[in-house]
Symmetry: C2
Subunit: 230 residues, 2 copies
């Protein structure tokens, strides 16, 4: 994993540089997948990384459904394509052509699909830290997704988060109970390359915004830009 | 950051070990804070780490409100305590005493509070990848929180995610517009120690569940435990 860290990161110690390099080179991968299976010991590390995510009230609300069966993966792909075609109709004319040319489907390209779910009832009715923000269990599960994503990158494994699905269709396909909410469908596999920048940036769909424009101090009324220089 | 990685991680290369060590030693910190201010260059790295999180449709929906003003931090603390007292009444009797003895408030202990928000309208009405799961922008913002958390750990800075707030009270306190949803209030600062395990585990509030019980293959009907051994 070679990557030149930007100014401000070049004097960090090697452990910090390792983390930052992983953060900055992580990509949402939809192509470049190789067919080789992910070894069980690597997969175990990725799942363990996810399982050590923070969770509200130490609720650990996640489950992991590994999808390897070809017929099930074909059904997932079909569900993805249904949603993708529907989505295309929602864009204004000038964006639709570009949208349709983007490579978004990754399920059939990658050797493994993984669904990460949130069990909304795992810890009973009252959960510490979730009393005023009931969605905190969903957020905990997203932290597990991000942990897994970073571990995958460090292992040289590409991951894509396929968020185009209709969640109800996913629930039926994978026979999930009503208390389990699908949070993410991921495609995972070794890759022949990681893009140097996000694919949507390279394709001109959107560009990275200046961090300085996103900073406030003490109030949304008080914009600041002093502590960052990008 | 010394930490013995578990079996299965001990043969990873040094970059991978650095990431896994950061993941496994990250804690939700509410005490142990030192009063020293976080240097600007460190804070800039943490915010940059957050800003390089994945986001649906490359939407980058986050904003960051640094809260340093003592009066505003006192108001945040009061809002936290209001919600904390309300929360205590929700627990059954046998849990309430224990709940009230836990150290959950961290705002006044840490030198910096940070609110991370999600602008639900940042990229217009139709956002690539968010057409069937409108909450994907919230999930993107959570990825930014987790990136910042890991960067903080690597920098030796403790972070707590204070999720007890009433979000509407937060919005008013920090003068947030209607399109911005508060996702996380964080307390941040150098610490004199990181706990060896999550505080709620050490206090006997909850224990870590076996990952093997959380795994399925191809369907929720098909539980598996073969690829992990914990």
């Amino acid at each position: 994993m070679t990557h030149t860290l930007p100014e401000g990161f070049d004097h960090c110690d090697p452990l910090q540089q390792a983390l930052y390099t992983t953060l900055f080179t992580r990509r949402d991968v939809r192509s470049q997948f190789l067919p080789d299976a992910i070894p069980d010991e690597v997969l175990a590390r990725l799942l363990t990384a996810a399982h050590y995510a923070p969770s509200v009230g130490f609720m650990q609300p996640w489950n992991f459904i590994l999808v390897r069966d070809p017929a099930t993966r074909q059904s997932l792909h079909s569900a993805f394509m249904d949603a993708h075609l529907e989505a295309a109709t929602m864009f204004p004319d000038e964006q639709r052509d570009k949208y349709q040319r983007l490579k978004l489907a990754g399920i059939l390209d990658a050797p493994l699909s993984l669904c990460i779910t949130c069990d909304r009832e795992r810890a009973g009715k009252v959960v510490l830290g979730r009393t005023h923000m009931p969605e905190m269990d969903l957020y905990s599960t997203v932290c597990a997704v991000q942990n897994l994503w970073l571990a995958a990158r460090a292992e040289g494994i590409g991951m894509g988060w396929e968020s185009l699905f209709d969640p109800e269709q996913l629930r039926k396909l994978l026979h999930m109970p009503a208390n389990a909410k699908p949070i993410a469908i991921l495609c995972l596999g070794h890759v022949n390359a990681f893009y140097p920048k996000p694919m949507l940036e390279l394709e001109g769909w959107a560009s990275r915004q200046p961090l300085a424009d996103m900073l406030y101090e003490d109030s949304w009324q008080n914009s600041i830009a002093s502590i960052t220089k990008d």
